[in-house]
Amino acid sequence: MRLELEEISYVYSRGTPFEIAALRGVSLAVEAGEVLGVCGGTGSGKSTLAQHTNLLLSPTSGRVLVDGVDAASLEKIRLRQRVGLVFQFPEQALFAPTVEEDVAFAPRQLGLDEEEVRTRVEEALVALGASRLARRSPHNLSGGEKRRVAVAGVLAMNPEVLVLDEPTAGLDPATRETLLDLIRSLRGAGISVVLISHDLDEVAEVADRVCILEQGEVKAVGTPAEVFYGHPEYAPTMVRVVSSLRENYPEIVQPVRYVETVNVLKKLLEG
């Protein structure tokens, strides 16, 4: 699916003395099967943007297009099945007595038959490495386990676009790696992912393209190398190291991911 934001503006508390313009004319497309990283400082509009992808927030002006069709004209439940949104700290919304019931909740709302629901729950829990939790209460899990279950609940809808808002905040390295692997395998399956994160190092590892938001506007969008090397203030660790070296050796290539960077620097050290 191609998801497009067209000149989106959004104002919180409009018409009150507390008006805040969170988005100011944002145009951005998520191509089918790509991982789009969205970075930007706190308060730059990242989460507000996320909530527009499935029209949880309706833009003050502008449109959201799904394969060229105005999303506002689509049935809400269908739109939200196709564009799955995982909030910040999504584990807050866990509510069912068991993990499998919790993950089954959304697919059931779609009116799927019970066998299909079971299959989806199983697949989603496997994808998050959470199968062994199926019969546990979601309320007695650790923070990392809860996060896995909450993401599984959205994945079980079989979305065509998965939007993740700070999915790794507060996670240990192993759980974070599970989520990054999930993102890579979704891309492999042709599902688009929007990864919203202030962790530039993690965006650098998985994004095909990167967008930087600043004060509700798109400051830059392009390949990770273009964006990160072009905007030093948003450079992840690897890019910062290489950029410092390029001051002396401008001929060094511009790696972004960790493994690429190690290879480039090893060659450099070998002379």
């Binding site: 650790s142 507060g170 202030h198 690897m238 070296l245 960790y258 090893k266 050290l269």
Partner: protein, 285 residues
């Protein structure tokens, strides 16, 4: 403290002490904490690390009396939080992982004032303290904003301001930077650095680079204290890191994978300098 041997500070008054703390959540077989014992001296800055489910957040809840241990006991500046939770909360402030859970008022300044108001602070003093707490976390000018319009990172700073305003002697921070962007993170670490010596800090995190300058680090895994070490010792102990699911800060990891021995380095610029130096050496050879 001798940072080469990993000896811990052993003088000065105790701020926090835990003895054989054990706790299991209802309906679970595996204890969240078992036999947890450690001491923190007043003014120490202690990191707490380990995998999700290792017991870090449970420990934080125990220190302000939100949870009572099944057995064992803890003391915060002489007060047992399980027995006198309200007394303990005057001495220890906890910043929880999800800032949403800490915000109570519709407007920023009221939210910061909430804790002070409950303590009956005079209005004038309250104003001063609210203003200085907001300034400390970089939220000056946000006084009249509605809290629900703040971003995740701003909410995290706001929750911290609420905590700083009541000036607790012991701060327990559970993943305080989880929602912050890189400048926000640096700002927060500067605030925390400014508290060193005056306050006792327990800083829970998955990001070891935040603990480069901690007095020591407590590794919690499977509900037990696996180790108590100074940062440099933890960073150079691959087995200790591996067994507890910890990864080195990116700069140190890159240095290690390049075969450079640089345990003290903490910025990408320093690493780049070290690489240049190494290249220079090799060219001469």
């Amino acid at each position: 403290m001798d940072s080469t041997t990993g000896e811990v500070r052993d003088s000065g008054p105790l701020a926090v002490s835990c003895e054989n703390l054990a706790f299991s959540y209802p309906g679970t077989e595996r204890p969240a904490l078992s036999n947890v014992s450690f001491e923190v001296r007043a003014g120490e800055y202690v990191g707490v690390v380990g995998p999700n489910g290792g017991g870090k957040s449970t420990l934080a809840r125990m220190l302000n009396g939100l949870l009572a241990p099944d057995s064992g006991s803890s003391r915060v500046l002489g007060v047992d939080p399980a027995v006198e939770p309200f007394e303990a909360r005057k001495k220890v402030g906890v910043l929880f992982q999800n800032p949403e859970n800490s915000l109570v008022a519709p407007f920023v300044e009221d939210d910061v004032a909430f804790g002070l108001e409950n303590r009956g602070a005079p209005v004038e003093e309250m104003r001063v303290r609210v203003r200085s707490a907001l300034r400390a976390v970089g939220l000056e000018g946000y006084e009249k904003r509605e809290t629900h319009t703040l971003s995740g990172g701003e909410k995290q700073c706001l929750a911290l301001a609420g905590l700083l305003a009541v000036e607790p002697e012991v701060l327990v921070l559970d993943e305080p930077t989880s929602m912050l962007d890189p400048p926000g993170k640096r700002g927060l670490l500067r605030i925390l650095d400014g508290l060193r010596g005056n306050k006792t800090v327990l800083h829970v995190t998955h990001h070891l680079e935040e603990l480069l300058w901690a007095d020591r680090i407590l590794v919690l895994n499977e509900g037990q204290v696996m180790s108590e070490v100074v940062p440099s010792v933890l960073f150079s102990d691959a087995r200790l890191l591996g067994e507890n699911g910890l990864v080195l800060p990116p700069v140190l990891r890159l240095a290690r994978d390049l075969g450079l021995d640089l345990p003290e380095i903490d910025s990408s610029e320093e690493l780049a300098q070290a690489i240049l130096k190494e290249m220079g050496k090799r060219v001469i050879r």
